[in-house]
Amino acid sequence: MTEAATVEARPARRASRITPVSVFLWALRIAILAIILYGSYLSISSGRLSAAQWRDLFVFGISTGSMYALIALGYTMVYGVLRFINFAHGEVFMVGGMMAFYVANALAVTPLWISSPALSLLIVMVAAMFTSTAVAVIVERIAYRPLRGAPRLIPLITSIGASFTIQYLVRGLVGPATTSFPRMEPLRGTFEFGGFVILKTQLLVIVAALVMMGGLYLFVEKTRTGKSMRAVAEDPETAALMGINVDRTIVNVFAIGGAMAGVAGGLWGLVFPSINFFSGFLPGIKAFTSAVLGGIGNIVGAMLGGVSLGIFESVGPSLVLAGYEIPAFSQLKDVVAYAALVLVLIFRPTGILGERLAEERT
């Protein structure tokens, strides 16, 4: 009797799962895929761009994307431990870029810039890293720590305030004008290996981002500090009971996020050599998008999300929009980026790799 009931109940339950909403969602998914594939087919078959140009678009995307990924790490790590989005992180990135600009400009008039560019570059990067780290830690101390027990919405709003404060402090300090980085001659031109041509700056960006992200991954997985971060992300109260200094761990998280953003700021200056006080806004938003795309709270997800977003943005307009002969499609780059976010979330609501959260705390 009971067996029969369960047998009957099963198909019934299955049938009840197919709601009009899920039918609609599947239809939407299929329609979107069809639109993307047909657009790509039209675009590729038109032969407008050569294979080398398609490859270049991919490489451009990867290099911009690796910078998004570096910034996204800060968003995702802070979200992992504190469960709020630190909107001031874009400004932490901008401050790093600003410092890189000033140090680079100061070095550019010295013989060191010509005689040992690698050392100068290292100095620039370290300066950017330290500045961003310092700013991130100060913001945490002033704006977030006093709100530790408060509902999550409150530090979120505070972070928006912190973002404006930093922006306009920088505007007050250095003025509103756009300033440009000095050129680094050894980084100009292209690098070739086995018929594969890549701009030197882009190669540097990709390699540096990989090194930083690899280092971060090892740090979080292998060291004691990393372990305490993971513990606090899992459950801060229990972590505290285990003798972990939660406040210090949170400072570490901000410091590491800041350092990554600082490096991204310096690299950004090499690839896009102009900066002003507002430069952090758009990359910040893009990096936040990357973090969500990859699955917020997930470090590997942020890296993957950043690179994917960079590629979508770079290749998407030429691949999909150009196929439908949309005029001035390059202007729709941001539309493509955010549409990609929506699409990925339609298919995988928790992002590419999924949120990594302790279930009860969400």
Partner: protein
């Protein structure tokens, strides 16, 4: 709870009246007669505001545009609405300085000092133009506004300021959309009461096209705009005459003003086989295009050309802009201009940083002259008739730093020459670049 509902109602009424004030048009009235008894209290309150606001605005046109009275000893107020922050800060700051010099030079108008009552930021955006102009017209004493820096800000500002009866006169709006196509057809955004001393881009576009086709001998051109009325207007004004001359526009594309990665769009342009890229946009997007064009495969030989929006000291001193061509307004060579530059340099510690200071200086002086014509003095109290003020500007022929200015039916006052200049290794700064004139076109040369 009751208190709350009352507050909500109050807020709603407040918002409605703001909306109506902002729309500010003369029409209305018709809809308000449909107020029905069955309405709830909220919408009835809304209707009430509609009628009262409509009643106020409809009385104004009956008496012309009204008058502004300046009591004895009080200053005559004018306002500035320029881009003074952000990437285009140099464009606006340059003109604010020119306005300040013009005020200092003038001293007094009929015994009244002149006060620059507002120094608003147009943000080089339509939002900035809307906010700034709304703030300015809230002061009923402001006679005229010198601005905006950017055509994008000029579109809403022209509407807001002219419908409040005041005058907007710009030294650097160049988009054809604000006045006319120079063939006698008013543009969509032209409003009576708008004037400008800068050139119409119909002229600049034609000059740039003629230069590229005839002097450089290039026929395959790509254009990039950023969606702003200035850049869109200018690329449009370039494309039509260029194709009429026999050239081909291989790609007419757009970027966004805050875009940094131009490589995808440049890759498309390389694929289209452009010999020259004409990108009359602003900084910093212009920086990135010039920089990244050097790196994209297939663009090594492609010539770059910008326009007056990029003719600033911060742009031409960038290493990647060397060899670039620019179109822009002719630099005056008169003694009066040299004298102005001396004053400018003394007051601000640097030579003029952009190309439109002389235009704003002239615009300010035209306003002063028109105020003198349009006002009546009654024992120290000055009455400025706003309609007469507009008429005076329309009828005036003013000999300014930028040449002889007399306004046509659609507010274009300049009869400009366009210089084509080149940034070379020898031109150290903006002064050098503007002095390195390759060719100069007058309106007659272009058949406009």
């Amino acid at each position: 709870m009751k208190m709350k509902r009352g507050l909500k109602l109050l807020a709603l009424v407040g918002v409605l009246s703001l909306v109506i004030a902002a729309c500010g048009g003369g029409e209305g009235g018709d809809t308000s007669t449909t107020a029905s008894e069955a309405e709830t209290t909220t919408s009835a309150a809304g209707e009430e505001t509609t009628t009262s606001a409509a009643g106020e605005t409809t009385t104004a046109p009956a008496e012309g545009l009204g008058t502004i009275e300046v009591a004895a000893g009080e200053p005559i107020k004018i306002a500035s609405l320029q881009s003074i922050s952000g990437d285009t800060a140099s464009l606006g700051t340059d003109q604010v300085r020119a306005i300040e010099i013009a005020i200092a030079d003038k001293g007094e108008i009929l015994g009244h000092p002149v006060e620059l009552a507002f120094n608003e930021d147009d943000g080089c955006s339509s939002e900035g133009g809307q906010t700034g102009s709304t703030r300015i017209i809230a002061d009923p004493q402001v006679v005229a506004v010198i601005g905006t820096s950017c055509s994008g800000a000029g579109v809403p500002a022209s509407n807001v300021i002219t419908s409040a009866g005041r005058v907007l006169i710009s030294g650097s709006n160049t988009s054809p959309v604000l006045t006319s196509d120079l063939a006698g057809n008013a543009s969509a955004e032209y409003h009576d009461g708008y004037f400008r001393t800068a050139h119409n881009d119909a002229i600049q576009g034609a000059a740039a096209a003629k230069f590229v086709f005839e002097e450089l001998g290039l026929t395959q051109v790509a254009t990039i705009n950023d969606g702003d009325p200035y850049t869109q207007g200018l690329t449009g004004a370039f494309e039509a005459p260029f194709e009429a001359l026999g050239g081909t526009i291989v790609e007419s594309t757009a970027v966004t003003a805050d875009q940094t990665d131009m490589r995808p769009v440049l890759t498309e342009i390389a694929a289209a086989g452009a010999e020259l890229i004409f990108f009359p946009i602003f900084q910093p997007a212009g920086d990135f295009i010039a920089e990244q064009a050097l790196e994209v495969a297939g663009l090594e030989e492609t010539v770059l050309m910008g326009a007056d929006g990029l003719l600033s000291d911060t742009y031409v001193t960038l290493p990647q802009t060397e060899e670039m061509y620019f179109s822009g307004p002719q630099t005056p060579t008169t003694d009066a201009y040299a004298e102005f530059v001396t004053k400018y340099t003394e007051a601000y510690g640097e030579a003029p940083i952009q190309s439109f200071h002389a235009h704003s200086y002239d615009a300010t002086n035209m306003v002063f002259n028109a105020i003198e014509t349009a006002s009546t003095d009654d024992g120290g109290t000055l009455t400025i008739d706003l309609q007469a003020f507009r008429d005076a500007l329309n009828e005036m022929t003013y000999e300014g730093l930028t040449g002889s200015l007399s306004c046509d039916d659609f507010g274009d006052c300049a009869s400009p020459n366009i210089d084509i200049v080149q940034n070379t290794a020898e031109t150290a700064d903006i002064e050098g670049v503007r002095g390195n004139v390759l060719i100069s076109y007058s309106r007659e040369d272009l058949g406009l």
